[in-house]
């Protein structure tokens, strides 16, 4: 606040000093010259206001008190030296989603920011909390769930770490127990367009595996990922990831991701990878091809591969293959009212175990149509063998209706029919409320 006052008085001082410097505009002076002069002054004030705004947005205190000279301000207003010329340690960092230019604001006295008392707040990450409340009615003897549950409370902490990297944490609280869903550093300034990550992350295996619960268009997850790709948490493990956009002709976006993980994913029956020794790392590779068919329609196709050791024994390996395809339609002129997304994912699992290797297949197909600004309707068809006993096959289907009171909450109802192996049937009604607090997150794509 002291700083804001400082800059305001600076503004005042400039106005006065430039007035004093040029008592110009004497009575006989040209009217338009005077107008021009006033306009210049106005522009200077606006430029200063812009800087005050940037500072306020960060709530920062100054390390330097600039000398109130019109010259210096005129020089500094448009000048935006690169942050690499500033000491990285003293350059304040803007929160990820606030497009401010903390590191670029300079004054004659040097870079603003640094180690002021209230500057500590500036460095706080963007915080968001997403609540996921689920109610389930109906009978299901295979997969039992409580009638009402605060399924997940996810806390997101995101910030730019330094000029070279950003950090993202997603910590999910169940009703009991905490889980680090994701926590990783992304190196954004690597040479040759590489993007690298290190930490715990959802693996780039298909689409649903990369998505957090609250961005799924369903209350639950498909049978295929539950049976074959480590259940709700999916392949979510500690490791490294490297991503690169590969040049391709005809406006095709081609992107290759390679990942190496410790090799532990999924718990209990849903376990896919289990490292019994350090060398049992798992690997994931994903190739994504995307093309805009028209301005409003696009096609997104992915191929995934994952390999790791499983819990059947030290020398048993599981290979997973995936293919995903997404077709999206969103007319730009009516983009907030109508859209359609159709998505299918196919999975093949080869699990070495005793007495014989299990080869299981599963897929889901889903569609979601936006009827109006706040209403979405959709459906999903599920079919999947079980990874540990491929002769058992589960099938199911869902219809879904979602209402968005605002961008920050969703209310969803889903009717789900499941025909589990051995002809065990379940009819359920699922109900979900999602709500988000704090920093405005990015819309999923």
């Amino acid at each position: 606040m002291k700083h804001v006052i400082g800059v305001t008085s600076l503004v005042f001082a400039i106005v006065v000093s430039s007035w004093a410097q040029q008592p110009a505009a004497p009575a006989g002076a040209d009217n338009s010259a005077l107008e021009q002069h006033i306009r210049d002054l106005e522009d200077r004030i606006i430029a200063l206001e812009g800087q005050v705004r940037l500072l306020k947005a960060q709530g920062s205190a100054p390390a330097a008190t600039p000398s109130p000279s019109a010259e210096a301000v005129a020089a500094s207003a448009p000048a935006n030296p690169s942050p690499s010329t500033a000491e990285p340690s003293s350059a304040p960092v803007a929160p990820a989603s606030e497009p401010t230019q903390a590191a670029m604001v300079t004054t004659p006295g040097g870079v603003i920011g640094g180690a002021g008392a209230s500057a500590a707040k500036v460095l706080n990450p963007d915080i968001s909390v997403i609540g996921d409340f689920i109610g389930i009615a109906g009978h299901n003897s295979v997969q039992t769930s409580p009638s009402l549950q605060m399924h997940e409370s996810e806390i997101g902490l995101q910030a730019i770490i330094d000029p070279y990297a950003r950090g993202d944490f997603f910590i999910s609280f169940g009703e009991e127990g905490v889980n680090l869903e994701e926590g990783y550093i992304t190196f954004t300034s690597l040479p040759a367009g590489f993007v690298a990550r290190a930490g715990k992350m959802r693996a780039a295996f298909g689409k649903v595996n990369t998505m957090h619960n609250h961005v799924l268009p369903f209350v639950d997850r498909p049978l295929a990922t539950n049976n074959l790709v480590a259940g709700e948490d999916g392949i979510d493990d500690a490791g490294f990831s490297v991503e690169h956009i590969i040049p391709a002709p005809k406006g095709i976006f081609l992107d290759l991701t390679g990942q190496v993980f410790r090799g532990d994913s999924g718990e209990g029956d849903e376990n896919v990878f289990h490292a019994s020794q350090k060398s049992d790392v798992s690997t994931v590779a994903h190739l994504r091809a995307y093309k805009d068919l028209t301005e409003s329609t696009n096609l997104d196709i992915g191929f995934s591969y994952a390999r790791g050791h499983n819990d059947a024994g030290p020398n048993f390996v599981t290979n997973l293959y995936g293919v995903d395809a997404t077709l999206r339609w969103k007319p730009l002129r009516r983009s907030i009212y109508h859209s359609f997304v159709s998505r299918s994912e196919l999975f093949w699992s080869q699990r070495q175990q005793l007495p014989s290797e299990q080869r299981a297949f599963g897929f889901y197909s889903s569609g979601e149509y936006q009827l109006a600004r706040r209403w979405f309707t959709g459906g999903r068809f599920d079919w999947s063998d079980r990874a540990r006993n491929a002769s058992l096959t589960d099938k199911g289907g869902s219809i879904i209706l979602t209402y968005w009171p605002s961008e920050f909450s969703q209310i969803r109802a889903q009717y789900r029919f499941t025909n589990y192996a051995n002809d065990i049937k379940a009819n359920e009604l699922l109900f979900q409320i999602l709500f988000s607090l704090g920093a405005h997150g990015a819309h999923p794509f």
Binding site: P99, S189, R334
Partner: protein, 316 residues
């Protein structure tokens, strides 16, 4: 490990190295003479083109007829961002829902937030509606840093153009004089056009209008229009019957006949308000490229002012 295995390994290594080399080479900028500018909206693109001229190649992510709050983060945009030397954004959290992940994934160190090639144009402009009290989402999708629809004031257009020109001069020193020269030229043309627009709008100063979203404070401020209400009950919340009834009563009471709507909003509610109040819906363009013929910043004002003056004359 026997010899043949080693040989195979060595061959694999060579293949991997060659692949990496190809990737590196392909990722190097093809010694582009032009500065590649990517902007979030078409208005910024038009202003950048004005001052950049032939020395720059400009591309915008959003189209002019699209709601800039809700652009999809399509991977095809990454192809543009990957090549960009300069990214110009509107800022004030207008692009918060889609641009940050694109910037991260672009793998382009030049345009990362805070880097030399990242330019937030809002720092140059006169910003209105900066909330003074506490901000909560009970107010709808408010922008805590101020109203991001600031480019529809020609004076802000001039300031942004100047900011971009300075930036270009800094990034491309050999052509610095050209950029300043082009800005001077733009400034002159804009001043002339502004005189014409001001004259055309002068008879309607103080006239009352209703807008769909709060996207016209700077336009209204510059041309002296009085925005008395919004079709949206709160920013980002679709119209509700009770609010619409209230708004219609207010319009009748204050004799307001003009409803200004962006091309990306549904016309149903504005049309029924117009029928009920005997007013006119003006589907103005918030951005360059909203219609085919609106190809630059000048034509944007020509188009909107043409529509508005006609509507004001028809509704005295």
């Amino acid at each position: 490990m026997n010899r043949s295995v080693l040989r195979v390994l060595r061959r694999d290594c060579l293949v991997a190295l060659a692949t990496l080399l190809v990737l590196f080479l392909s990722a190097l900028p093809a010694a582009a003479k032009k500065l590649n500018i990517v902007t979030s909206t078409t208005d910024m693109a038009s202003l950048a083109q004005e001052v950049g001229g032939d020395n720059v190649a400009v591309d915008s992510i959003a189209r002019g007829y699209q709601d800039p709050h809700f652009v999809e983060a399509k991977p095809s945009f990454l192809l543009k961002l990957k090549q960009a030397d300069l990214l110009v954004v509107v800022g004030l959290q207008l692009e918060i829902g889609w641009l940050p992940p694109l910037i991260t994934q672009s793998g382009n160190p030049r345009i990362q937030t805070g880097a030399t090639g990242y330019l937030d144009a809002s720092q140059f402009a006169d910003i209105l509606d900066v909330p003074t009290g506490p901000v909560t989402r009970a107010m709808g999708d408010v922008h805590p840093l101020g109203n991001p629809h600031y480019w529809l004031d020609p004076n802000n257009g001039r300031r942004i153009a100047k900011g971009i020109a300075n930036k270009l001069a800094e990034m491309d020193p050999p052509n610095a004089a050209t950029y300043q020269q082009r800005f001077q030229d733009f400034d002159k043309r804009l001043t002339a056009a502004q005189q014409k627009w001001d004259t055309e709008m002068k008879p309607f100063r103080g006239r009352k209008v209703v807008t769909y979203h709060n996207s016209l404070p700077n336009f209204a401020h510059h041309f002296g229009l009085n925005v008395i209400g919004y079709v949206e009950p709160r920013p980002g919340i679709p119209p509700t019957p009770s609010h619409t009834i209230e708004l219609m009563a207010q319009m009748k009471r204050e004799n307001c006949k003009i409803i200004m709507v962006e091309p990306y909003f549904d016309r149903k509610t504005p049309d029924s308000i117009a029928r009920e109040t005997g007013g006119t819906v003006v589907e103005y363009l918030p951005s360059v490229g909203g219609e085919k013929e609106v190809t630059d910043y000048f034509k944007l004002f020509d188009y909107d002012i043409g529509l508005l003056t006609k509507a004001f004359q028809a509704n005295p």
